[in-house]
């Protein structure tokens, strides 16, 4: 059953007066429970594509359907609700707010959520423990290593139990052991909870470790056989 469907999506940017097509007529079906990787060189349009799927960037043409609803037709509030409740983002860069503790960073999506979770403090602790930094819940980002910060960002992506997690280079600058831990955690979430994942990566190991693999080149998406 399709969770997200991209229909002929195109996105162009104008850089120094020159029009660049970052995503070129891409169609893609993401099934519920999928674990998809999108590989490709820098500048191939991977981040633009997941940003469109996540509703943080609107396409120039085409449709993005989530459970049958075209998210491009949603107003700003509805789109924010979509990002808050349906999508979990793991960014490729440090994405924690510097003046909030690890726990407060994890809880951040909850304060923008309509649903009030009474035990959200415990839930944040639980996720931080699951990603292996339960002992640093009150640490500020500046007191955490790069890998620890990435784990906090992962815990944050899970806090509102989203249906789809978009992970842009989730292990980009991490050591092998941390990369292994994180990928294992994501696979476990996929297997146990059925959460759908779209992972953008440079790493062949990660790309081939997913159930479906796509390659992006000059804005064009093609599926690869595993």
């Amino acid at each position: 059953m399709s969770l997200t469907e991209l229909i002929e999506v195109t996105k162009t940017f104008t850089v120094n007066g020159e029009s660049i097509t970052a995503v070129n007529n891409v169609s893609l079906v993401i099934e519920k429970g999928d674990f998809i990787s999108i590989a490709g060189h820098s500048g191939s349009g991977k981040t633009t594509l997941v940003s469109i799927i996540g509703g943080i960037l609107s396409p120039a043409f085409g449709k993005v359907l989530f459970n049958g609803t075209d998210i491009c037709s949603l107003n700003d509030d509805k789109l924010s609700e979509y990002r808050n409740s349906k999508i979990g983002f793991i960014f490729q860069f440090a994405s924690l707010l510097p003046n909030l503790t690890a726990k407060e960073n994890v809880l951040l999506p909850c304060i923008f959520s309509r649903e009030k979770k009474s035990d959200r403090d415990n839930l944040a602790k639980e996720y931080l423990e699951k990603v292996g930094i339960g002992n640093k819940i009150n640490a500020y980002p500046s007191q955490l290593s790069g890998g620890e910060q990435r784990r906090v960002a992962i815990a944050r992506a899970f806090i509102n139990s989203p249906e789809l997690i978009l992970a842009d280079e989730p292990t980009g600058d991490l050591d092998e052991a941390t990369e292994h831990d994180i990928m294992e955690f994501l696979h476990r979430a996929n297997n146990e909870k059925g959460t759908t994942f779209v992972i953008v990566t440079h790493s062949s190991d990660i790309a081939y470790g997913c159930r479906k693999m796509y390659r992006m080149s000059r804005g064009i998406l093609t599926q690869e056989t595993l």
Binding site: I56, D77, S95, L97
Partner: protein, 396 residues
């Protein structure tokens, strides 16, 4: 969590926060001080004219400023006109609207020449027609003044530097016993010595005063209810060219004219300070918006609505504006309450505000300071809330 988040943001750059806070505080204190200053003078004049209880004050032509200087600023002034004017006013056709009239005669003591006290304004009043001093006189001695008796204004003793009660003093080579002290009237009368018209006539008759017989200084008039004092004033001035008529609401015109100039200076200063503060808030919040654009982008990406971003910034601005305004409110109120004595104008017109008036001005200052702070931050907040999440992240 929004509040604690905003507070943490404010603590991030303490110096910047302090600069903003102090500039708002400065603006609010200036606003409160200037408003209190103006309101004090207005209120002082208003109270003084109300307490005199006269609808019209009639003085010799050209002596209006002198009369106000004595009645409002306690300056020793002497000016005279013929007592006949009272009768002439009464005889003006169509002026049945006058309910009562009384008059005062002002003299100034000259120490070592005619009197044994330093220069003080002496007011002779007619006990039969008086309605100006009666309430205070009743409260002080509850009987009319007898021949050879005088009574002091509330501050006369203090100004002369000795206790006037129950002492005998020489005024215009006549001995007077000072039998009491009036309560505060809030007018120039507080600094005078009062004697009866009969005593003054005796002084004149015995040749001990430069004053000629039949001269008075000022006439106070009460009109019947509902009568337009301006209309009556014009009729009197039209019929008797030797007098100037001052309506109750016009008392203190010269002081208020001076105050208008002071107000202009205050206004220009406040407008510039407000613009400067709003510009400072705008500049700092523009910088904050730029600094935090990645954070805003991240928050938007994880589900923050535009209204959430506005709320976060607004709390920050509001807290900043409120704290700055509170500091300014305290400073401004302190200045307006305790620096009053440093200003001659305020002292002269007995300008004081009630606690409620101070509170009203303080609250107005608080609202203005917070409002200016919010107004300054609106544009940068509007810009940042409208940024596309990914663009905001990339700009950061």
């Amino acid at each position: 969590m929004f509040l604690s988040f905003s507070m943490k943001n404010l603590k991030r750059k303490p110096f910047r926060t302090a600069v903003l806070l102090l500039s708002i505080a400065f603006l609010v204190s200036l606003l409160i001080f200037s408003t209190s200053f103006t309101a004090s003078v207005h209120s002082g004049i208003q109270k003084a004219s109300d307490r005199l209880g006269a609808d019209l004050i009639i003085v010799p032509v050209g002596a209006r400023d002198y009369a106000e200087e004595f009645l409002l600023e306690s300056k020793n002034r002497s000016f005279y006109m013929s007592k006949d004017i009272i009768e002439r006013i009464k005889n003006i056709e169509g002026l049945e609207v006058i309910e009562s009239m009384t008059y005062h005669t002002y003299l100034s003591t000259i120490a070592g020449v005619c009197c044994d006290i330093a220069q003080t304004q002496v007011v002779a009043f007619d006990q039969n027609t008086d309605f100006i001093l009666r309430p205070w006189l009743q409260k002080a001695i509850n009987r009319p003044l007898a021949r050879g008796e005088a009574i002091a204004g509330y501050e006369t003793g203090y100004n002369l530097g000795f206790d006037l009660l129950d002492i005998e003093t020489t005024l215009f080579n006549n001995t007077f016993k000072i039998i009491g002290e009036l309560d505060r009237t809030g007018t120039g009368l507080d600094n005078a010595l009062f004697m009866t018209e009969d005593d003054l006539q005796h002084i004149i008759d015995s040749g001990n005063s430069p004053l000629k017989k039949g001269e008075i200084s000022i006439i106070f008039t009460k009109l019947k209810r509902g009568v337009d004092p301006y209309y009556v004033g014009k009729i009197i001035e039209g019929n008797i060219v030797e007098v100037d008529v001052v309506e109750r609401s016009d008392i203190g015109r010269e002081i208020l004219n001076t105050l208008k100039d002071i107000n202009k200076i205050f206004l220009v200063t406040i407008v510039f300070t407000s613009l400067l503060t709003a510009f400072l808030v705008w500049a700092i919040f523009s910088a904050i918006a730029n600094e935090r654009s990645r954070e805003i982008g991240i928050m938007r990406a994880i589900g923050a609505k535009k209204s959430h971003i506005v709320r976060l910034f607004m709390i920050e601005v509001f807290v900043l504006g409120l704290l700055g305004s509170l500091v300014g409110m305290a400073a401004g109120t302190y200045l307006s309450m305790y620096l009053v004595n440093s200003f001659e104008l305020l002292n002269n017109v007995s300008a004081t505000l009630t606690l409620i008036q101070h509170a009203e001005i303080a609250v107005a200052g608080l609202l203005a300071g917070t409002g200016i702070c919010i107004a300054g931050a609106l544009m940068p907040i509007g810009r940042i809330k409208n940024m596309e999440p990914l663009l905001a992240i990339k700009e950061g």
